[in-house]
């Protein structure tokens, strides 16, 4: 912090960027009859930097987040990082219809349920 103490002024010291960390993003998981919805906080991530992979039943989110930094960093509570998180997708999800959208740093991942696991009413015949 630049502070004047008489004639001696302390110049702001730049913080050294430490190693890049891998961070687990906070995720919420919701469900309704049609799908499982995963919502994750990924501030600073653009759609190009986000990779979502499904390998057998393991779903992995990976994203790179770089800060646009110009000038001397005086104080940092968050830094450049990689986001990474894996989930096991339960059987009953239709993998071909998984959809993702990233807006305002929030990822919404839709995991639609396969037709055969959707709840259905069984009609009763008088017999």
């Amino acid at each position: 912090m630049a502070r004047e103490t008489g004639l001696v002024k302390q110049e702001p010291q730049s913080l050294v960027q430490s190693d890049r960390r891998t961070v687990t993003p906070a995720c919420d998981i919701y469900e309704n009859k049609e799908e499982v919805l995963l919502v994750a906080d990924l501030p600073g991530v653009t759609p190009e930097a986000l990779k979502i992979n499904l390998d057998n039943d393991e779903l992995t989110l990976e994203a790179r987040r770089d800060l646009a930094s110009e000038g001397a960093l005086l104080s940092a509570e968050y830094r450049d990082c990689d986001y990474r998180r894996s989930f096991v997708v339960p059987s009953g999800i239709d993998a071909s219809r998984i959809a993702a959208e990233l807006k305002n740093g929030i990822l919404q991942l839709h995991l639609p349920k396969s037709e055969d696991v959707k709840p259905r009413a069984i009609s009763v015949r008088a017999g």
Binding site: C27, D28, Y30, V36, L73, L74, Y78, N104
Partner: protein
């Protein structure tokens, strides 16, 4: 009761390695949140509060950036009083209509964080924008706080 007496050597090893894993993890957690505290922020939870913010000095401007996923310009109130910048607003979390909740990790917050700036700024030329969930507030330093060159004359 018998299980207490059955601690073999391998159990001790496991215990110590778990402890050191825990210690490494705790160090990393504290490292992440307490790096570079050159300035104070009053927050709601934990060491700094929500949202996490950085302060940058670009020479002519002071720039405050914060992680605000899910918020747009209209959700955040940015106010400046002399050399104190305040960010306030709320980021409520609700399950979408018709969905049940299996897991809730994202914090639902109402926040108000104030930052003491390292120098006086010109309130006329202050700008704030939100992009991809990152808020950037750019403040022009007051004229008397700008860095200046002192010319050295040969004696």
């Amino acid at each position: 009761m018998w299980s207490r007496w059955n601690l073999g050597w391998s159990d001790f090893d496991d215990m110590f390695s778990t402890m050191s894993q825990l210690r490494t993890y705790m160090d990393r957690v504290f490292d992440d949140t307490s790096a570079g505290r050159a300035w104070e922020g009053r927050g709601l939870s934990g060491l700094g509060g929500w949202p996490r913010a950085n302060l940058t000095d670009t020479g002519s401007h002071i720039s405050v950036t914060a992680e605000v996923p899910g918020l747009s310009e209209k959700d955040i109130k940015v106010s400046l009083n002399q050399d104190v910048l305040t960010l306030s607003g709320q980021r409520p979390i609700e399950a979408p209509k018709g969905y049940s909740t299996h897991r809730q990790e994202r914090p639902s917050v109402e926040f108000s964080r104030s930052f003491s700036l390292p120098c006086r700024v010109n309130p006329e030329h202050a700008a704030a924008a939100v992009k991809n969930g990152i808020l950037t507030v750019t403040l022009e330093k007051a004229a008397d706080a700008m860095p200046r060159q002192i010319s050295v004359k040969a004696a």
